[in-house]
Amino acid sequence: MIGTAHQIVLPVVLPLLAAFLLPLVGRLHVWPARLLGQIVGVLHLAVVAYLWTLVGGGETIVSALGGFAPPLGIVLYADRLSVLFLLVLSVGILLFWPRREHGGTRADTLTLLLLGGGSGLVLSGDLFNIFVFYEIVAVASYGLAASGGNAAGFGAALRYLLLSALGSALALLGIALVYGAAGTLNLADLSVLAPERLSGPMGLAAFLLLVLGFGVKAELFPVNTWVPEVYTAAPTRVTAILAGVVSKLSMVVILRLLVLIFADPGAQTLLLVLGLAGVIAGELAAFRAPDLNRTFAFSSIAQLGLVAVAFSIPDDLGIAAGIAVAVHHAVVKPGLFVIAGHWTGPIERLGGAARVSRPAAIAFVLLSLSIIGIPPFPGFWVKLLLLGEAFAAVDPVYALAGAVILAATVVEAAYLFRAAALMWEPPEGDNRPPAAFPLARLAPTLVLTLLILLAMGAVSPLGEALEAMAAEVGDAAIYVGNVLPGRI
C-alpha cells in the first residue's frame, strides 16, 4: 500500500513516533513502555532488513519529502552504504539496550530517539537536515551519558555537551558559508556546484568547520577530549553504543561530504592530518591508560583516526578500507567495552581474571587479536587493505601514513597483549581476583565474538561486496544522477 520509495522514511519516523508516545505508556506501567521500545527496535531492524533487499543489488532509493522536487525540498537517499550503517545502528542498539535500572522509561525514550535520529543522519541528503539529525543524536547521547546517575556522569555529560554544542555552532557556520557561496543545501546539487563555487580557501574553511562540528561524535582529533571522560563515567551499554555506533554514523556523514562536495586535495590532506593525529595520540594515550575503560576509549580514538586516514585516500579502495575499519570496529569495540565495564579498576589488578571467568577472558583475547590485526582474524584483512592502499597511493605522504599505522599497531599489540597476559596470571600479592562475570551480562560480547569468528570464513565474499559498495559510494556522479536526473 505504501509506495516503495517512500518507505525509507520509516526507520526515521517509527522510533520518533514511539518515543513521543512512550512517556504516556510509561505512565500506565513501566514494563509495557520498555517492551514497546524494544519491539520498535526489532521493527526497525525488520524495516532495515527489508530495505537491504531493495538496495542490496546496487539499486538506490530516493524519496523527495513532501513531494517537493530537490533541490527545493529535502531528499532521503538510501544506497548500500546508508543501509549497511542503518543495520549497524539497529543491531548495535538492540544488543546494548540500556538496562532497566539506569534512567527508567526516560532512557528507553532517549534510546528510541537516538535510533530515529541516527537513521535520519545516514539517510538524509540535505546538509542542514543532516545538522538537525546530528543534533538529535547529540542531545540524546548527552542524556544517555548522564543516565548512570553517578556524579562523574553529570560532569562528563556537561563537559561533553559544551564541547559538542560549540562544535555544532561551528558546523552551522560552515553550513552558512556553504549556502552563502553555493546557494543550495542539497548534497547532490552542491556536488554539481562545488567545483565552481566551493573551491579554494572557502571550500576548505567550510570543510574544516563541518569536520570540527561533526567530528565531535566521530572522535576526531582535536575535538575528542570528551571521549575518555564520558566512556568511563557513562553506563557500559551507553559507552558501547556511543563508541560502536554513533561515532561511525558521523564518519559516514564526513565521507559523504568529502566525496560529494569537498573532493579536492586540500580537504583530503586535512582529514589525513586529523586522522593521523588521532591515531598517534590515541595509541600513545591508550598505552599509558590506567584501566581497561580508558584503554579502549583511547584505542577507539585511534581506530576512528584510521577510518579518517582511509577515507582521505582519493581512491575507491581507500573508501572500502575505511568502511571495513569502521564496521570491524563497530563489531569489536562494544564487546570489549562490556568487559571493561565489568572489570573496572587498575589494569594491574586483572590478575586471575581468566580463572574467574574463562569465556570473558577468551573473548577478550579473540577480539583483541582481531583489533591488532593478527591473521586469520577479519581485523587482519581490514588492516591489510588499509596498508595496501596507503602504500600504493600516488602521494608519498600516504606511505608515511602507512608507516605510522604500522608503528601504532605495534603499540596497540603491546598494551593489549599486556592486559591479556595479566588475565592468565595469578592475582598479584594479596589482591583478590576480579569479580566473576555473569553470563547474561557477557552475552552481547559473546554474540559479537561469534560474528567475528563467522566473518573469518567469509572474507572474500565480504571483500567483494565491500568493493562494490565503495565503488558506488565513491562515484559522485551516481549520487547526483539518482537525486537530480538530468543534471549530469
Partner: protein
C-alpha cells in the same frame, strides 16, 4: 593575578581567528549571495503550498523534516533534563508562594497569553509568527501561574498528553500521505484561497501540532529547571 597568561594567549588566538573569519566573510559579498534555492522557493511557494508566509511554507512543507527534527530535539532535551533532575534535591529558594500582585497578575495574564499564543500559532502560515513563536508564548502562559503558586505544579498528566499527542499528530499528518503512495509530509487538502485562515492545506494543522508541542516542552523544561516538577 591568576590566569592572565591564559587570557592573553586566548586573545591573541582569537584576534587571528577573527582576521581569518573577516577574510572569509569578505569573500561572500553582502547582499549578493547566489541563494538560488531560496529565491526559487520564494517564487513557487505560494502557488505550491498556499501559504503567504514563505518562511512558514519552507518550515512546514519544503523542509518539514527539519521541523519534525526540531520539535524532536526539544523533546529529547526535555526528556534528558527530566532524567538528569529527577534525583535532584529541590532548589534552594523554593516553596514560598508569590506575593498577591504576582498571583493576580498571573490570573489576568494567563488567558491573555493563551489567546495571544494561539492566535500567533494559527496565523503562522499568513503573517510573521507561527508554531515556535506562538509556542514560546504558550509556554509562558502555562509557566507563569506556576511561578505565582509553586504549591500547585503543572498538571503533569495533561502536559504529558499534549506533549505526546501533538508530536504523534505531526508524524501522523505526515504519514497520512504515505498511504496515498506519496512521500512523507506531502501537504493534504489542496492549497485553498491564499490569505484566508483556512488555507494552505494541512500546514496550519502541522503548525498547531508544532505550537502545542513546543509550548508543552518549553513549559516542562522551565518547570524542571525551576525545580517545581521533576516528574520523577
Amino acid at each position: 593575578m591568576k590566569g592572565y597568561g591564559r587570557a592573553v594567549a586566548a586573545t591573541i588566538f582569537l584576534i587571528g581567528l577573527g582576521t581569518l573569519l573577516a577574510a572569509l566573510f569578505a569573500a561572500l559579498p553582502f547582499g549578493q549571495a547566489p541563494m538560488q534555492v531560496g529565491q526559487a522557493t520564494a517564487v513557487v511557494a505560494l502557488p505550491e503550498t498556499g501559504a503567504t508566509n514563505i518562511v512558514s511554507a519552507i518550515l512546514l512543507a519544503y523542509r518539514g523534516l527539519d521541523t519534525l527534527g526540531e520539535v524532536t530535539i526539544l523533546f529529547v532535551a526535555a526528556t534528558a533534563a527530566g532524567m538528569v533532575l529527577s534525583g535532584a534535591g529541590r532548589g534552594e529558594a523554593q516553596g514560598a508562594p508569590a506575593g498577591f500582585i504576582l498571583r493576580v497578575a498571573s490570573g489576568l495574564l494567563f488567558p491573555f497569553l493563551l489567546a495571544l499564543g494561539a492566535f500567533i500559532v494559527v496565523h503562522g502560515h499568513l503573517t510573521p509568527g507561527g508554531g515556535f513563536q506562538g509556542g514560546a508564548i504558550l509556554a509562558a502562559a502555562f509557566f507563569i501561574p506556576l511561578l505565582a503558586n509553586p504549591a500547585s505544579p503543572l498538571n503533569h498528566t495533561v502536559a504529558m498528553v499534549i506533549e505526546g499527542v501533538s508530536g504523534a499528530a505531526f508524524i501522523a499528518i505526515g504519514a497520512a500521505a504515505l498511504f496515498g503512495g506519496e512521500a512523507f509530509l506531502t501537504p493534504l487538502f489542496g492549497t485553498g484561497t491564499p490569505g484566508e485562515l483556512f488555507s494552505a492545506g494541512s500546514l496550519p494543522l502541522l503548525y498547531l501540532a508544532v505550537g502545542l508541542k513546543v509550548g508543552s516542552e518549553l513549559a516542562g523544561l522551565m518547570a524542571r529547571v525551576a525545580g517545581e516538577g521533576g516528574r520523577a
